[in-house]
Symmetry: C2
Subunit: 238 residues, 2 copies
């Protein structure tokens, strides 16, 4: 292990631990079958995710007061339903579709990898998803977190400093004792700038079969790089 | 079940889920054997616990800024060591003794009861213990929490309103969908006053064999009363 002293691992969730795109498409297809709707659900999923960062940036900039991710997702969903001409859904149907983000499936290696990592480290999500979303997802998918950490606790979305350092403080550790694990270099760059260790996980399927296949960046200052969470457990001696 | 609509259970921890007195005595005895110290450890445990509420009240009143329970315990420990004439402990020994509160053992019914309750409800501690204390305790003792909630998140010790209602908000529930479970009527009275449901658990051994044996109060407005957490699971249909 190249990272002595690490005690806790914080995981980005959407894309790193679970397959958001596949889960949102599946929820759309379920709704489509039930209501006889014919829609390009992969595009719907991509457009929904496309609104994710801009909606959080409105909170980060102060343009919006603190708003849970469930509520940002819901506002984006209302826009999307109009754009895709999907009218006439009940409140209950919209709420169920919005909670597709609670029902995402882990990548096949996620649960086995986390179960190994948990033996040696304290493991928690550190996601922009709200606490109730992350809790429902973990319960349904069997993600064996020791605790749930979220941008909701300091009310600052990643990559704001508070999202990382509040988590470090709640763990009662120093930044260098905590490793951020993510498939997204921007998340890792932010974590690194605040003193955390970093592990890059390569998730070429995040954006689907036709999506971009990010190559593991070899020139970036990550402490560890792994192909999946089982490989990460190997790398970290767990 | 007399409480339809309940989705989540919040548990007081010290006394309700774990045996703080037995654990602190054991930690003291371990230290005593290692250092050839002869002390009345049961009295030591009782005196340490006796400083618990007064120390939190100094934070609740604003006399002290927010201070984690680990740090309140440590300040009380320094006083106690002087009082009991225990000098010459190293920093490491004092830290280890202070973390006796991280190593408390569950009552025999706690893990089996929680495992059943977890199938039907979201379960979390809602303790004045800090997040890292509750996380370490759960990992060591196998307490199967879905998430860790703590007075540390709103930085308000129970029975302050914020301790209960921040937890309800993080769960994205209404107060009447959340049940506080505790062996202490004052905790339940506070929870009830903020709209939560309440379950009383009878823990006659909390203060040891010579301690007071509180009778289950029959005239108090608790939704449920149970002899232990397995009985609570029965009562709540889990």
């Amino acid at each position: 292990m190249q990272t002595p002293g690490v005690r806790a691992l914080l995981f980005d969730v959407f894309g790193t631990v679970v397959d958001w795109r596949g889960g949102v498409i599946r929820a759309g297809e379920d709704l489509g079958r039930a209501k006889d709707l014919h829609l390009d659900w992969p595009s719907f999923a991509d457009e929904w995710r496309g609104r994710y960062k801009p909606s959080m940036d409105r909170v980060r900039s102060g343009d919006l007061p603190w708003t849970k991710l469930d509520d940002l997702h819901r506002a984006s969903l209302e826009d999307l339903l109009s754009e895709f001409g999907l009218t006439g859904l009940t409140e209950e149907e919209k709420d169920h579709l919005n909670k597709a983000w609670h029902r995402l499936e882990p990548w096949p290696d996620s649960v086995p990898g986390l179960l190994r990592l948990r033996e040696r480290y304290t493991i928690a999500p550190l996601s922009n998803g709200n606490v109730s979303l992350l809790t429902a997802m973990a319960k349904r998918a069997g993600l064996p977190w020791d605790l749930i950490l979220s941008a909701e606790l300091p009310r600052h979305y990643k990559p704001d400093r508070e999202a990382y350092l509040t988590s470090v403080d709640l763990l009662d550790l120093h930044p260098e004792q905590v490793m951020m694990v993510a498939a997204h270099p921007d998340d890792l760059h932010a974590a690194s700038s605040f003193g955390l260790r970093t592990a890059y996980v390569h998730r070429p399927q995040e954006f689907g079969p036709a999506g971009e296949d990010p190559q593991p960046p070899s020139d970036l200052p990550f402490d560890v790089a792994a192909g999946d969470l089982v490989e990460l457990a190997e790398e970290l001696g767990a």
